[in-house]
């Protein structure tokens, strides 16, 4: 669909049937790390990976070899399931405002 943001229509909620290859969404980074955020500009490419933090498997957003923050929410849950299956994703910085960062996540 032209202009689609991959949000899955009006209900907009990803479910387990959403193909990992089509998973793409905009999201806000959780707990953005100020030192890393200060180095970011719109358009920067970031890596997406999983990590074990405090006993939980989490999705993290990486700049170089440093953690810029995390992703947590319904989209991130689906993303983690796809990462577990071997799919790879990248993120692009959309906006930076007041230390908060919005990124666009898409399948590689």
């Amino acid at each position: 669909m032209s202009g689609s943001n991959g949000g899955g229509g009006y209900s907009g909620v990803y479910d387990d049937e959403t193909p990992c290859e089509k998973l793409r969404f905009e999201a806000q980074i959780s707990s953005p790390q100020p030192i890393i955020v200060a180095t970011l500009i719109a358009g920067d490419a970031l890596d997406i990976s999983v990590a074990n933090m405090k006993g939980q498997i989490v999705v993290q957003v990486i700049k170089g070899d440093q953690v810029a923050g995390g992703l947590a929410g319904p989209d991130a849950t689906r993303l983690r399931n796809c990462l577990d299956k071997g799919h790879q994703y990248r993120a692009t910085v959309r906006t930076i405002n007041g230390g908060q960062v919005r990124i666009f996540v898409e399948h590689i």
Binding site: A27, S31, A72, P74, T77
Partner: protein, 406 residues
């Protein structure tokens, strides 16, 4: 000392701008307070999936974030077309769940759609939320030695049974009804009125470059509760912190740390004497209405501006369709008498662009809403002092904020 938060945790989906999150009032307040540095315990009804998402979020916090789950089969879901729209709400059970019970020293309680919370606390803050059958704090047996109510002006009027009355009148009645020692009434561009037994004080609202509305009220209550109950600030100081933190949230869609908020500077909204004396400015709503999408936008915008307390002249509604000699003179006359103009410019309708130029030549403030056109297409507007907004809600609030300063 830990703050306990009890209330709804809901799924929030907004179509445009897109937003897909698990928060709800209590979930958002808990994250806002924890991000600010205060340990929290969140009490709520939630599904297993919801619990997992909240655990995922909590990992990224530097503060203790505990969750007391009362398991339910399905989450309540709010779907918004845009962030000021009335949401479509699904998943509310036909019969409310058994009330939660929270007996702790300091508790922030929100009203809920799916159940209720009985609170026993030394200190409590209660936001009844704009739900059906709003009940006083103690109606379900809740008790608190020190109680603060936080609600908006409409809720205050409804709960006090005093339609269209100023918070300086309704707050004292509500304090009596609820046994509260503090009542905070949110008043839109006028900020918040803070009532205590010694009198009332006003704290300002702050202007932001962008406005994101979903959950802004939750943030205000969260930061008020944290500042008043946890940090021991006066109610007025707590409300001012809450107003600034809410501005940060509306601007960024994120929660500030204490350090971040201390470094942010927002300007208080300017309110003219005319506005404070009851003058309500008239907005000329410029925009095309040649197909359903355009008419829908005009209809929606007119209704929302009126809900914000503005008078609106809409050529579609107030003049109608017609040939040039029927409508153009009336359009231009309406621009002359309007106080400011909101122009919907996506599509670059020639009539709308003409209206903008005409209004600027008369030195009327013009707010331009355009999501698709930047740069060259809007150069004349940008260069002639129009306020350019790329987001719908921001455009509506910018219009309000310009109107109240005239």
């Amino acid at each position: 000392m830990t703050l306990h938060i009890v209330g709804g945790v809901y799924q929030e989906y907004c179509v445009h701008p897109r937003w897909n999150e698990i928060y709800g009032s209590a979930g958002r307040a808990a994250h806002a307070i924890a991000t600010f540095g205060t340990p929290v315990v969140l009490h709520s009804y939630m599904t297993g999936d919801t619990l997992q998402v909240l655990k995922d979020k909590s990992v990224w916090l530097d503060t203790s974030f505990e969750i007391v789950q009362t398991e339910i089969p399905d989450i309540v879901r709010f779907t918004y077309l845009y962030d000021m729209a009335v949401p479509d709400i699904r998943g509310v059970p036909e019969r409310p769940y058994t009330p939660l019970v929270v007996s702790e020293e300091k508790v922030l309680r929100f009203g809920m759609l799916e159940g209720d919370a009985v609170v026993h606390a030394d200190w409590a803050v209660y936001d009844p939320q704009n739900v059906r059958n709003v009940q006083p704090f103690n109606a379900n047996g809740s008790t608190a030695i020190h109680l603060a109510l936080v609600l908006n002006a409409n809720e205050a009027c409804n709960m006090a049974g005093m339609p269209d009355e100023h918070p300086s009148k309704t707050a004292a009645v509500l304090a009596q009804q609820h046994g509260a020692e503090v009542v905070v009434v949110k008043m839109g561009p006028e900020g918040a009125f803070v009532w205590t037994s010694t009198g009332g004080e006003q704290v300002p609202a702050f202007r932001t470059n962008r406005v994101w509305k979903i959950g802004s009220g939750d943030c205000f209550v969260a930061h008020f509760a944290n500042a008043w109950m946890h940090n021991g600030m006066t109610p007025t100081k707590a409300a001012e912190i809450a107003s600034r933190a809410t501005a940060y949230y509306c601007d960024t869609q994120g929660f500030p740390t204490a350090d971040k908020l201390s470094k942010e500077s927002f300007s208080p909204l300017q309110l003219s004497n005319s506005y404070l004396n009851g003058m309500r400015r008239q907005v000329y709503l410029a925009g095309p209405f040649f197909d359903l999408a355009q008419v829908w936008m005009v209809q929606q915008t007119r209704a929302t501006l009126r809900n914000l307390g503005l008078r609106v002249f809409s050529p579609y509604h107030d003049i109608g369709l017609g040939c040039a000699e029927d409508v153009v003179g009336k359009d231009l006359e309406a621009i002359q008498t309007a106080d400011l103009i909101l122009a919907i410019t996506d599509g670059l309708d020639s009539g709308t662009i003409y209206e903008i130029g005409y209004a600027r030549a008369l030195n009327k403030p013009v707010i331009v809403y355009s999501e698709r056109h930047i740069g060259e297409s809007l150069k004349m507007m940008e260069g002639s002092g129009c306020m350019i907004c790329g987001d719908y809600t921001t455009a509506l609030y910018t219009t309000l904020w310009e109107a109240v300063r005239l």
